[in-house]
Amino acid sequence: MIARVTRFFLVGVVSAALFTGRADAQLDVGVTEGRADPVPIAVTDFNGVGSLADLGADIASVVKADLEFSGLFRAIPPGAFLQDPASLGEDAQPRFDLWRRSGAQALVTGWVSTESDGRIRVSFRLFDTLAEEGLVGFVFRGSEGIWRRIAHKVSDAVYHRFTGEGGYFDTRIVYVHEEGPQTALTKRIAVMDYDGENHRFLTSGDHTVLTPRFSPTIQKIAYFSYFNETTPRVNLLDLATGRRDVLGDFPGMTFAPRFSPDGSSVIMSLAINGNTDIYVMNLETRTIKQLTDGSYIETSPSYSPDGSRIAFTSDRTGQTQIYVMNADGSNQDRISWDLDNRASYSTPVWSPRGDLIAFTKHIPDSDWAIGVMSPEPGEGERLLAFGDLVEGPTWSPNGRVIMFAHETYGFGEDTERVIKSIDLTGYVERTIRTQGAATDPAWSPLIP
C-alpha cells in the first residue's frame, strides 16, 4: 500500500574501540556514529541489610534497564557472576579476573543503607574489569520515596563515564494520552518518568488538549487546549500549585507553544482570519511581539539553545518547509531542501546541543520520517525513523536520542499510536512505556 522509503544511515567508522584487552584500554563509547557492539556490563544487586536488600535489587534492575535502553550496554545475567556480590565491601577490590571470566568488561556495584535522619544512602562504584581500576563512584542521599531517581542518577553517571556525554535517565516525559472511539478521542495530558514509572494525569479529559511542552525548570507545562470552546488557546499549567492559566488575551486561536531557553517567554502561533503567524510573549511583562507576517502559515517555532535563533515551519512556497530566523524575526532563511524538491518538512526542534534540528518529513505517496539536519541550508540531512505517520520529535537533554509520535495503520480503521525513541545512530529504536495510546511527547531536561 505504501512504498517504503529506503533507509539510509550514515555508517561511519566504528569509533567505539572498546576494551582491546590491554590494561590501558581507552574506555569510550561512540554515541553518534556507526553501530557498536553493546558493552557487556555486570550490575550487581546493591547490597543492603534486611528490607534494604530488596531496595538494592530494585535499584540494580532500574540501572540495568536504563543502560540497556541506551543500546550501549548489555547486562550480564546474574547467573554468570563468579564472585558473590554480597561479599563486596564498599572499599574492597572486586576479583577482576572472575568478572572478566563471567564476560563483564565493566562492573557496577552498590550499597544501600539508612541514615540517622531516615533518609537512604546509596553509593555505587563503576569498575573497568580489564584495566582493573575504579572509574567513578558517587554517594546519593534522599528520601526512600525517590529511590528511582537515585537509580537513574547512577545510570546517568555510568553513561557519562563511558560516553563523555551527560545522561538522560533522570528525566520525565509529558505526553497526550488517548482513549475512546477514534472519532471522539478523550485526550489527557499525562506526565511520567522517561521509563513509564510514576505516571499521573494532569488534565481531566473534559477538553481536548494537545502538544504539552516543559518549561526549562520542568515546573510549568505549556499546552494547547479547547477549554475555551470558542477560541482554543495556549494554556500554562504550574505543576507545583496545579494552577492553570490561559496565556494572553489574543484575538484568535493560539497554539504550538514552546518556552524560550531561559524560560522567560513562550513562543507560539496565533491564527487570525485564516492567517497564522509566530508571536513571542514575555511571561513577566506579558508583552507580545509579532515575529512573522504575510499570508502564509507560519508555525511550530523552536528556539536554538542560546536563544538567538528560531526554527519554524512555513508554507510560503506552497508546501511546508523549515526556516531559521533571528530571534527578532529578521533574516528568514529556508534550510530544508529535498533533493527532488517533492518532500514537505515540518515541526523543527532544535537540539539542546545546538548542532542539529530534528524534523518531520513527508514524501508524497510514501512513508513519513523523523530526521535531523544542520541549521545551515540544505546540509546534513539524515533520516532516522519511519512509519505510516511519525511526527513531533523531542530531544533527550544530551541531544543524542529523539522521541516521537508513531502511528501504524492496521487493517481497516485500526491505528496503533505509540511513542518511540531513536538514537542518532538510527539503530537503537525503542517503544516508550505509556498507559495506552499515546502521542505528542515532550522530553524534559535533566530534573534539577
Binding site: 502538544t211 497554539f255 485564516g274 502559515i297 481497516g412
Partner: protein, 166 residues
C-alpha cells in the same frame, strides 16, 4: 424570495417520501360491475426551514477540500450560497464554521490549515453579504475525523468545513 424557491424545490423533492398512499376502493364484483376509484393524496409537508433536518437535507452541513488546500470548489460555493440566502432570511441566527483536516499532516500545521479552511468559508459568506459578526470560526485540525480509515475516500471526507448554528 430566493429562499422560497429553495423551499418549494425541497418540497418537490420530498413528495415521494410523503404520505401519498394511493387509496383503492374495490366494490363487490358479484354484480359484474367493477368500479375502481383511485385518489392520490399529496400532502405537501415543507420542512421547517429552521429545523436541523432542513439544514442537513436542504442547505447541506459540509463543504469539502482538496489535499492541503482551502480552495472552495463549485459545489462548495453553491452550498455556501444556499447558506448565505438562508442567513439573509433568518437574520437572528448566527453560524459557526469548523475547519477540519485529514490525518496526513503534523498536528500543529493542521490546526493552522483548519483555521484557513474555516475562514475560506467565512470569507465567501461575507462576500455574499453576511455580516462577519454573525460568523465564528474554529479549527479542529485533525482532531475530529468524520470517518475513520486510511484511504483516499476517508481522507476526502475528513478535509472539510462544517457549518452549524451557534
Amino acid at each position: 424570495m430566493r429562499f422560497k424557491l429553495i423551499a418549494a424545490l425541497a418540497a418537490g423533492l420530498l413528495v415521494a417520501a410523503c404520505e401519498s398512499t394511493p387509496e383503492v376502493v374495490e366494490e363487490d364484483d358479484s354484480a359484474g360491475a367493477v368500479e375502481v376509484t383511485e385518489e392520490v393524496v399529496v400532502e405537501v409537508d415543507p420542512i421547517d426551514p429552521r429545523s436541523e433536518r432542513y439544514i442537513e437535507e436542504v442547505l447541506g452541513k459540509r463543504v469539502f477540500f482538496a489535499l492541503d488546500s482551502s480552495v472552495l470548489n463549485a459545489r462548495s460555493q453553491s452550498t455556501i450560497r444556499r447558506w448565505a440566502d438562508w442567513l439573509s432570511e433568518f437574520s437572528d441566527v448566527n453560524v459557526i464554521i469548523e475547519g477540519h483536516c485529514d490525518e496526513r499532516g503534523t498536528r500543529e500545521y493542521n490546526l493552522a490549515l483548519g483555521d484557513r479552511r474555516a475562514n475560506a468559508v467565512k470569507d465567501h459568506l461575507v462576500v455574499l453579504g453576511i455580516d462577519p459578526n454573525r460568523i465564528t470560526t474554529i479549527s479542529y485540525g485533525k482532531e475530529r475525523p468524520l470517518v475513520l480509515g486510511h484511504t483516499e475516500a476517508a481522507w476526502g471526507q475528513n478535509r472539510r468545513g462544517d457549518l452549524t448554528l451557534s
